[in-house]
Amino acid sequence: MPEELLLEVKALRTYFHTARGKLAAVDGVSFDVKRGEIVGVVGESGCGKSVTAQSVLRLLDEKHDVSYEGEIRFAGSNLLELKQRQMREIRGNEIAMIFQDPLSSLNPVYTIGEQIIEAIMLHQKIRRKEAVRKAIELLRLTGIPSPEQRVWEYPHQLSGGMRQRVMIAIALACEPQLLIADEPTTALDVTIQAQMMELITELNRKLAMSVLLITHDLGVVAETCQRVVVMYLGQVVEMADVASLFARPLHPYTIGLMGAIPRMDSDRTQDLQAIEGSVPSLLNVPSGCRFAPRCAYADEQCRQHMPELKRDAASGTMVRCWHAGTLAEAFEATEAAIATETSEAAERAEEKGGVQHAIYP
């Protein structure tokens, strides 16, 4: 059943009740995660990606701050209609989550073993001895050396990468069907990040566990995800499988995100393509297309009317832009031009005998 839907988010709206009114941090977001799939959610800070993830587990304070609209269907039931007690059975058991900062997510006064055992015994009726054995097994699975000793150590005795492994071990304790990883590698160094992403993809393959990966790093997305959701100011602006998204991004925001990253093969003499301005506040959401004020291609139509999320006939990508088709062609043309330019420049440099540096004598 490779196509079976595990998580289906339909027209989700998450409102924050603030002194200045009701603000929709997530505004009509729909996407799904299939069994065994890794789906990435990308965007800048304030785009609503983390709030979307927290809404799935209903982690936000519903008594005072937050209200939801829409549907979150997980394995048949709508999570937004469940009672808190039923929700507790799903959290950690069927859907687990790991967070950005492993030090503040772990309790400093309990050993890591205690914290894993707690997660196991909360959801499974097994003896403590059995739970200890399982905790050690989980630490081994996540690649912690000499887990028999480490299990009785405190969080401060471990390095950042080790702590994130412990977080993953706790998340895996009940063999969840879905793992939500909210910026799991942002606080880690690049070599440790590589270890972590390797571990998450390996667990995804071995345990057929679906992953919803929240990140701002398009490099991580390209290497681990099968499908991608791009968010801007609370809305999905583009949604596609990884290959089409990177080969033919349609939304100007996605194109801008890609141009902003200094790539390992880019021409260093050129400036990065930077989108102007910054993400507006939820207090003044622009009328029409939300990206229009920062978009180089925006016209009157964009400023007046909000585009719908529509399927692009050529690639099957879902995109929210009035000019999606024409922009993609322009993007492909520049990419091709850059490619030929770079190879020509390399040839020229070779003829001259190496790259010349102006500032060196």
């Binding site: 800070s45 390209a222 930077a274």
Partner: protein, 329 residues
């Protein structure tokens, strides 16, 4: 071995660092023995006028301490830092203050590096007051002009930091460093707290300012893509030591030190068509409290041989202008 520049009788470097070290003595946890943390250990390099020298490494490698030591925000334990031939480390404080006008710093966190109770105008004028430059009126004019230079408007003059976004604050951080018309700017992770799009705006701005104001940058960062984009030459640090140094294109075309190779291969590529062979390192960066015999990288190095365990490798010129501290390079 003399470097390529000296052989050719090239220009004098703007900054020349020789054997710079910063050691901290600490008590080991749960023990009475004192131990020495070598945060920066015998680092030598030089920076030429007009270039950008990138310093890259993972957290704890000593790159930020090195940057601070150069300005004596942290007092070095040993070594020399020659600015235009004069040793900053031996300068009396009055002279050091004069030199600092030409050596400025931009910090990582635009939230904590600006005084929340001072208006942007006051923040920008303070360095001018300290160095006794201009009349109050001239200082205000200079601050206004600087705001425009970094892409802000005059209306920002009376604002407080909390009214600005992260990107705008980092522009203020740049403006504050540049208002004294420095020659060398030490940038300590100036874009790592920013979102990618804001990051690209600041990088473009920094390159534009470098061209217009003829600045020299020491650019400290952990992001390899950013370092590659902005630097002319790069030094790679691991556990307080400089393990490799080369021109940017040479370093990326042929990384010589195994650590550099691992570091470069760990960077995720935003292109799903590229499936690359990744070198995954075992273990974490060891605690700097533990002294490692021989090469500091040998416990994690996939190529380590007997010599590496016994003898610390010296930095040597493997190819013209390309230095590495590795027995096997």
């Amino acid at each position: 071995m003399p470097s390529i520049h000296e052989q050719e009788g090239g220009p004098m470097p703007l900054l020349e660092v020789k054997g710079l070290s910063k050691h901290y003595s600490t008590k080991r946890p749960a023990s009475f023995r004192k131990s020495l943390v070598k945060a920066v250990d015998d680092v030598s390099f030089h920076i030429y006028e007009g270039e950008t020298y990138g310093l890259v490494g993972e957290s704890g490698c000593g790159k930020s301490t090195l940057g601070k030591t150069l300005l004596r925000l942290v007092e070095p334990t040993a070594g020399e830092a020659l600015y235009q031939g004069e040793d900053l480390n031996r300068m009396p404080s009055r002279q050091l203050r004069a030199s600092r006008r030409q050596l400025q710093m931009v910090f990582q966190d635009p939230y904590s590096s600006l005084n929340p109770r001072k208006t942007i105008g006051r923040t920008l004028e303070e360095p001018l007051i300290i160095h006794g430059i201009g009349s109050p009126q001239e200082r205000t004019e200079l601050a206004m002009r600087m705001l425009e230079t970094v892409g802000l408007q005059e209306e920002h003059y009376d604002r407080l930091p909390h009214e600005l976004s992260g990107g705008q604050r980092q522009r203020i951080g740049l403006a504050r460093a540049l208002i004294l018309e420095p020659r060398l700017v030490i940038c300590d992770e100036p874009v790592s707290a920013l979102d990618v799009i804001i990051q690209s705006q600041i990088i473009n701005l920094m390159r534009k300012l470098q061209r217009e104001l003829k600045l020299t940058y020491l650019f400290i960062a952990h992001d390899i893509g950013v370092i590659r984009h902005i630097s002319d030459r790069i030094g790679v640090m691991y556990l307080g030591k400089m393990v490799e140094e080369a021109r940017t294109d040479d370093l990326f075309a042929q990384p010589l030190h195994p650590y550099t190779q691992v570091l470069l291969s760990a960077v995720p590529i935003p292109d799903p068509r590229v499936k690359k062979e990744r070198m995954i390192l075992q273990g974490d960066i060891p605690s700097p409290l533990e002294t490692v015999s021989g090469c500091a990288f040998h416990p994690r190095c996939p190529f380590a041989v007997e010599t590496c365990r016994k003898l610390a490798p010296a930095k040597r010129e493997v190819a013209p202008g390309h230095f590495a501290a590795c027995h096997l390079a």
